[in-house]
């Protein structure tokens, strides 16, 4: 078990609750999909896993999140070191305003890697893992912003993979992409789960059903049901889950 979440609640200081008493176990080397209608707390949970919620004013987090048995939700955690272990890809691809190669090496250089050979190897390795290498190998010095949306998103994935994190978080990574680009991203996710723990907020139920090894259904800050993807999408236990995946609401 890679991540164990115990009784996690996230509250904003205006009293609204974003997550209520969540307990969930996320296995290593599998794709865990957090899905449900908007405002259900999926992104909040994702952002709790690498402490990006810290950046929002007035958030209170209670409960525990154990990463390899170590609590990462409490105070006194080295947040920067944690974020190197738990990487994140956002809904909007955010290529940094530099070349394709520099986008990949950037995180490594921040982490203190200087050797050229290592950096060059990491560029190729991570771009291959993100299924982007073939498309950009002959123009690594081109500005990253010149790539198409789908390519940019895979570049962001590659950028995270280059840091060799243990966990990769993806927040609706394909929401702005066409079906072909989406398929490419999903393929590369299937490929990288051998080496990483993947937690994704998919942008549709269909996507969740396609890629989830483990699926968790969130509704208004509550974890309704979690289970193996096959079981959850074919024979959901909870009526609300059934209603949602059969398209009765949401």
């Amino acid at each position: 078990m890679k991540i164990v979440i115990e009784h996690l609640s996230v509250q904003y200081d205006d009293g609204t609750e974003s997550l209520r008493d969540i307990s969930l176990t996320i296995p290593a080397n599998q794709i865990t999909a957090l899905f449900g209608p908007a405002g259900g707390g999926k992104s909040t949970l994702l952002r709790a896993l690498n402490r990006l919620n810290d950046l929002v004013d007035g958030v209170r987090v209670t409960g525990r999140i154990l990463l390899d048995g170590e609590d990462i939700a409490g105070p006194g955690v080295n947040v920067t070191a944690l974020r190197r272990r738990v990487g994140m890809v956002f809904a909007q691809p955010v290529p940094l305003p530099m070349s394709i190669r520099q986008n990949i090496t950037y995180g490594l250089e921040l982490a203190g890697v200087r050797e050229r050979a290592k950096l060059t190897a990491a560029v190729e390795k991570s771009l291959r893992a993100a299924a982007l290498w073939d498309e950009v190998q002959d123009r690594l010095e081109a500005p990253a912003t010149a790539l198409s949306g789908g390519q940019q998103q895979r570049l962001c994935l590659a950028r995270v993979l280059a840091l060799e994190p243990e966990v990769v978080l993806l927040d609706e990574p394909t929401s702005g992409l066409d079906p072909i680009s989406t398929a490419k991203v999903e393929t590369s996710l299937q490929a990288i789960k051998r080496d990483y723990t993947v937690v994704i907020v998919p942008h549709s139920v269909q996507q969740a059903a396609r890629i989830a090894d483990l699926a968790a259904f969130f509704l208004q800050g509550e974890l309704v049901e979690a289970g193996p993807g096959q079981q959850l999408f074919l024979t959901p236990k909870d009526q609300r889950t059934n209603d949602y995946i059969t398209g009765r609401f949401g």
Partner: protein
């Protein structure tokens, strides 16, 4: 059968009526007159200043001595004075102002930020005489005593005050630029394991560099054209600054020379024309600063447009 007329046969202006036409004419006149004024000012400067080139040999204008009474019209000490005071001001204002802007935009909690930003913008409106007055009474003795210079009226004193004047503009513009960097950049950098400082220095500031450069240029522009403060605290001795040591000696700037001498000069004399030549030099300098600024901004814009296309 003829189709119904979609357009009335009158021209648009006639349709909109006279008020529209008058307002349009007024706006047009206002726009053109702004350009006209600039042209007239330049023509006036040239008419009054250019004769000096015939009356004083160009080599003498580039001389190192400014003693108008003995017909020495060397502009170099004045140009040097202006440059060294401005350089000093920039060296103080840029790191300090950038630091302040970064603090307000990136580090300070919301309540402090909402308090500091308007405060700094109020400071920008402070009359320069007030600053000069404080400079004379507070800063000058301080400089003399702590630095051990013969007098506190030095280029450095002027630089400090000018930096103080340029700071509010610099901070305000730079803070706006930093603030407009998308939050997603910061999230992306932090999620890559960058420390907050690495995020600021290697992502946010570079992403805002056009705005930051504009802020610096505006600051320089404010500093180089400033007259009153500088005249009050720099000692006004027209000697050629040589090296950085001159920062701690009295200097005289272009602006202070015009302000101090224009009142007591005979209209149409050589001295009078030379003062206007100084005006031309000042105009050229600020023109160069503005041109550099817009060239930098334009280049950046073109580059980003190219990237986004």
């Amino acid at each position: 059968m003829t189709p119904p007329a979609l357009l009335p046969d009158k021209p648009p202006a006639a349709r909109a009526g006279w008020p529209e036409l008058i307002i349009e004419a007024l706006i047009r006149a206002a726009g053109y007159s702004a350009i006209l004024f600039v042209i007239l000012i330049v023509l006036f400067l040239l008419r009054e200043g250019l004769p000096a080139l015939g009356e004083v040999a160009p080599a003498d204008l580039l001389g190192a001595r400014w003693y108008p009474i003995e017909d020495y019209f060397g502009l170099l000490p004045l140009i040097g004075g202006s440059l060294i005071v401005t350089l000093g001001a920039v060296l103080i204002a840029v790191p300090f102002g950038l630091g302040t802007a970064i603090f307000i935009a990136e580090v300070a909690p919301r309540w402090l930020r909402e308090f500091l930003k308007p405060l700094i913008e109020v400071l920008a409106g402070l009359p320069s005489v007030v600053l000069g007055f404080m400079g004379m009474l507070v800063l000058t003795p301080l400089v003399r005593e702590t630095l051990g210079t013969p007098t506190g009226l030095t280029a450095f004193t002027g630089s400090v005050l000018l930096a103080g004047m340029a700071l509010p503009t610099l901070v305000s513009v730079a803070e706006d630029a930093l603030d407009s960097v998308p939050r997603s950049y910061r999230n992306a950098a932090l999620a890559l394991g960058a420390t907050p400082w690495q995020t600021i220095w290697r992502v946010t500031v570079p992403a805002a560099r056009t705005g930051v450069l504009t802020a610096v240029m505006l600051g320089i522009g404010r500093a180089i054209g400033e007259t009153m403060t500088v005249m009050m605290v720099t000692g006004n001795a027209a000697r050629l600054p040589t090296g950085l040591g001159a920062l701690f000696l009295p200097v005289r700037t272009l602006t202070a020379t015009i302000a101090a001498e224009m009142g007591e000069v005979a209209n149409g004399s050589v001295h009078y024309h030379v003062l206007f030549t100084i005006g031309i030099v000042l105009f050229l300098i600020s023109f160069a600063v503005n041109l550099t600024a817009s060239a930098v901004v334009f280049q950046q814009k073109k580059r980003s447009e190219r990237l986004l296309s």
